[in-house]
Amino acid sequence: MFFGTIIYALFNTAILAITALGFNLTFGISGIANFSYGAMYILAAYVSWMLVHLLGLPFWLSVFVSIAITMVLGALIYRFVLLRVRGQVLSEVIATFGIGLGTLELFQYLGFVGFEYTLPVFIDDSFMIGDTVVDWQRLLITIVAGMLVAGLWVFTHHTRLGLAFRGIAQDESTALTLGIDSDLMGMLSVSMGCGLAALASLLIIPLGSISPSEGYDVLIKALAVCIIGGLGSTGGLIVASFIVGFAERFTDAYVGSQWTMIVSLAAILIVLVVKPSGLFGRQKELAERI
């Protein structure tokens, strides 16, 4: 029981980390809090479902297509909406929130709810560790999450584009003088954030079924992890995933499943009281949060 809980807590950590990664990336680079993140997550799953069931595409192909579609959509949202309200926090928040809400409720209205809306798992098999059943899909999520974190670190520290991203994040006007186009970087950051949301969704959704209400949960989870870890900090994100992931799984196992969401809320409030900038939030701490 205890050992099994630990294994599933680790999986939960990976799921949380991969869910929050895209949100964190967008915010870390361009300072845009993308409240349509949950909608992008759900959208990618539905696009993939439609490609498989209506057009008859193989699943692996639909994965690439739906990630591409989500990324293009993210870029379009930046180009036509966010670019015009850039720098006004109120407008950015309301605009992305409006897009997310509209999209999720549209799916709800169109009746895309039910058990037939599922995606296939990549590897349909499981094995035993001790007396705990472990399925390959969760293992795959953990591996991909690890690879993504490592890959993003390499990307932001050792490629031209990644360094440009960090330049914009540190000081936008200085980066501009060095010839880094901040609008282009902003567009790419939103687009990549949406792409990561799509990737996370296509990995995680096969464990359950697609439903629009999941979109709000994903957004809340991503926000919870990012707030606890400190927005824009990847290390903080991983630590926060561990904290929330273990806390959730252990309350689930020993207290009751209906209490899991409350644990995240309590964690957020405690962290905010003790350390308002999050556990590892250093970036622009004084100016942005106080």
Binding site: V85, I94, I99, Y109, L223, I262
Partner: protein, 333 residues
Amino acid sequence: MERRLERIDRGIKARASGVFALSSWREMLYLSAPRLIPALGFLLLPLVLDNYWQKVLLSMAVFALLAISWDILAQTGMISLGQGLFFGLGAYCSGILNHSLGLHPLLAVPVAAILGGVISTVVLLPVLRLRGVYFSMVTLIIPLMLIRIIEATKIFGGTEGLSGIAPLPSKWVELYFILSVLLAALFGFRRMLSSDYGLVLKAIKDNDLSVINAGINIYWYKAQALFIAGSLGALCGAFMTHVYMFVGMPVFALDYSILPIAAAVVGGPGTLAGATLGAAILVPLSEILRGIGGLRIVFYGYFLVVFIVVLPEGIFHYIERKYHQFDRWVEVE
């Protein structure tokens, strides 16, 4: 040939707003009409409308109040995405006061408003230190989490809610109560925001560091603004509890969070009149569009985006400008 838009104050504005001795009925009307029309309109409308549209007017007043409460918070630099929190807290307070203690509705509503304001201020107190988008994130999360808590702990009737709550004495009391609250809030808080006290609140939004520099404790002022907005939102919730004679988890629903924001943004943030105007446009509109059912929230969501991008100043500021100024195209030399 290049042209630019030139805006010039109307003569009557220059005369009526600068000189305090008004010289004609026309100038007096110019100044008082924008204030008299909504006031008289809200007081007379219930007499001419039929039963159904009276209900619409009632919910319009509630959403206008919620939008005003949102606008007061936004003026202080706190962008709330969870007006549902205030609404829900007020609804539950009033429901419990009436259900368990048997308080009369007309007493329960104001008590619940104060109580809801206090509770929401205490709940959000640790979050007050956060600015901008961080504050929005937390306010978005809290009402959604509260639903889960009520679900999990089964307190206050759990998923069933509390029913059998006493209604207000009559529909006229209902209507005129909420309309007079709306008018009082609209004109009272507008006056408050233009006083020195309101100036401090607005300064916190514009540049909180310099407000700190001036030796003012911004967290104390933010807590006060939060209490004002929270009480106003809680009042709406408490009132609606007695109208529906029921309180349950739907009070934390997204409707109560998104519609006030939509109303304030469409009407024009910054002036409470804009929030009221927005609600007066959106609520009847959504009644007319009742046929589309669930598509309503979709419509609000995208409507918000269009307005933020195309007319960020809102309808009220646009009308206000047209009222005070005329514009013409002139050639650029």
